[in-house]
Assembly symmetry: C2
Homo-oligomer: 322 residues x 2
């Protein structure tokens, strides 16, 4: 008897990443297809079904060897019935993803939030090292957060748990956030936030390396900030200090409440490595309770773009074991 | 066959509250004994055992009808083995409470943190209304916090989860906290914190009602602050605004991460009722994500001093059902 495999899907606004994952969390095969957001995303689930059919017909996989599909999707989701209330990037509103995809593929489908599946992937096979109390923070264009507590994803009362990016970090006159509030952590410590803060201060830092970068290419990125900071640029270092202060304080406040054993930082900004992590850990140590501080290790996410598909496949294993 | 009952114990620095609780969470009998903190608290567990023995001998209870003892204790605890690392108020350091009390009573013992058992009590029989995602905050001399997620207590990696009182609310020049940090929520929104803030501003508010109170009795309490605020005193209202701002912001930030369906506020300060709750809900609504905001109801704790014993008894029912 062949051991069954799962299909893990990471549904993004540009591409749909798909993988066949074995019961141990190893990727056996992976591929991606473009996300067709035309017509309010109505073709997406058919495209997924077609792609799986093609893979099973041409890739030597049989439907009976596949125990189901796990999907990490963006937006507001009812995890119980896989109903998407709203996913702006895909055009979906009140869309029964689970039911629709089960009908089109004949396979069992489990849906969760993409930040949660990334956390689950890192816990299972990555930097989370199977910690049963884990916070995973993805610093990309926005900030995603997933919390694992006692080995399972924290969903909260209506699937909103883990919205770390929307902790209010600046109470007065903070920058406007996509969520409608102002001063959210996402407006500061996401790649977009870091670039904004660095750019806004350029006028007063005309002799900085960052200003030179801006002259050269018309913008400064989060990556530029960390590169220039490492080379000793004062303004870049000030930006790093500001953003790690807010990020470290928010993580410490959250850790005083969640008490994680592992804090995993991923996303594009985490590529800064120790230039981000060293000041971040210092701020964390200042604001976390001593016992919370000693109990928590920091790590940079290690699975990169594979975290989503691996974590999505894991959804299915978890559901089967219940 | 008689249905078994549980003994619930709320272990405080001054009194030990004890109750016999039935399987439905009703208190059948309750009593208390003074906490003997002499000799580093070494008599406490013998006093508890003696008191239970007396109750079973004289109260018509038989040991075989009692399925065990649940205890909510203060301090740092290993919930798995009931080992107390440190409980300052009781004098305990590295004390195996569970093992010792099991030996002395012949009954099964389950130990948890007293803020967690209060939360569990309110969830089971009080204002928590059996919500499976609940935050319970006790505003007393200090601030206690208990979080129920998916129906079970959130403990975290080393039993520190729920330390809401030690969220850093004032980053620079905050008041010193007992935990060693500064600017913790506990230094602001506990009864002690409210009294401190009100008193510190009296010099600049000599025409206030609060100053008159201070002249009369040499101090102003949290209760005075809410009473004078309700009567229109400007300084008292300013204090209420300050403390509800910090408390509401901390709860909103936490709710964005936990996504509770119910937020229960207890402790002496909660007796202020709507004078506390109305401004608090307003601040919460400003900083919580819209979906988190609509998903969360506020309530004042309804069990008073009974929350601890009821929640402690519940520990046993939960353990038995696993």
């Amino acid at each position: 008897m062949t051991e069954t495999v799962s299909i893990g899907i990471d549904l993004g606004g540009t591409t749909i990443k798909m993988a066949i994952v074995d019961q141990q969390g190893n990727i056996v095969d992976k591929w991606e297809i473009p996300t067709d957001t035309s017509n309010n995303g109505r073709n997406i689930s058919q495209n997924i079904a077609d792609s799986i059919k093609e893979k099973t017909e041409n890739g030597g996989w049989k439907l009976k060897d596949i125990d189901g599909i796990g999907i990490g999707a963006p937006g507001f989701i009812n995890m119980e019935n896989g109903f998407i209330f709203h996913a702006v990037n895909l055009g979906w509103k009140n869309y029964p993803l689970k039911d629709d995809l089960e009908r089109k593929t004949g396979l069992k489908v489990v849906v969760d939030n993409d930040a949660n599946t990334a956390a689950l992937g890192e816990m299972w096979k990555g930097a989370g090292k199977q910690a049963s109390d884990l916070i995973c923070i993805t610093l990309g264009t926005g900030i995603g957060g997933g919390i694992i507590s006692n080995g399972t994803i924290l969903h909260g009362a209506n699937g909103m748990a883990g919205e770390i990016g929307h902790i209010t970090s600046i109470v007065e006159s903070g920058a406007p956030c996509n969520c409608g509030k102002t001063g959210c952590l996402e407006t500061i410590a996401s790649a977009t936030g870091i670039s904004r803060i660095a750019t806004e201060g350029l006028e007063e830092n005309l002799s900085s390396m960052l200003y030179k970068k801006w002259i050269e290419k018309g913008r400064v990125t989060a990556e530029d900030v960390f590169t220039c900071a490492a080379e000793g640029d004062d303004w870049a270092n000030e930006v790093v200090k500001t953003i790690t202060h807010h990020l470290g304080l928010a993580i410490a406040n959250m850790a005083n409440v969640i008490n994680p054993s592992r804090i995993v930082i991923g996303g594009g900004v985490s590529k800064a490595g120790d230039h981000l992590m060293a000041p971040l850990k210092k701020v964390f140590g200042k604001y976390a309770l001593p016992r919370v501080h000693v109990g928590a290790d920091f790590a940079i996410a290690s699975l990169g773009n594979d975290a989503g598909v691996i974590g999505s496949a894991r959804l299915l294993t978890l559901r089967n074991s219940n």
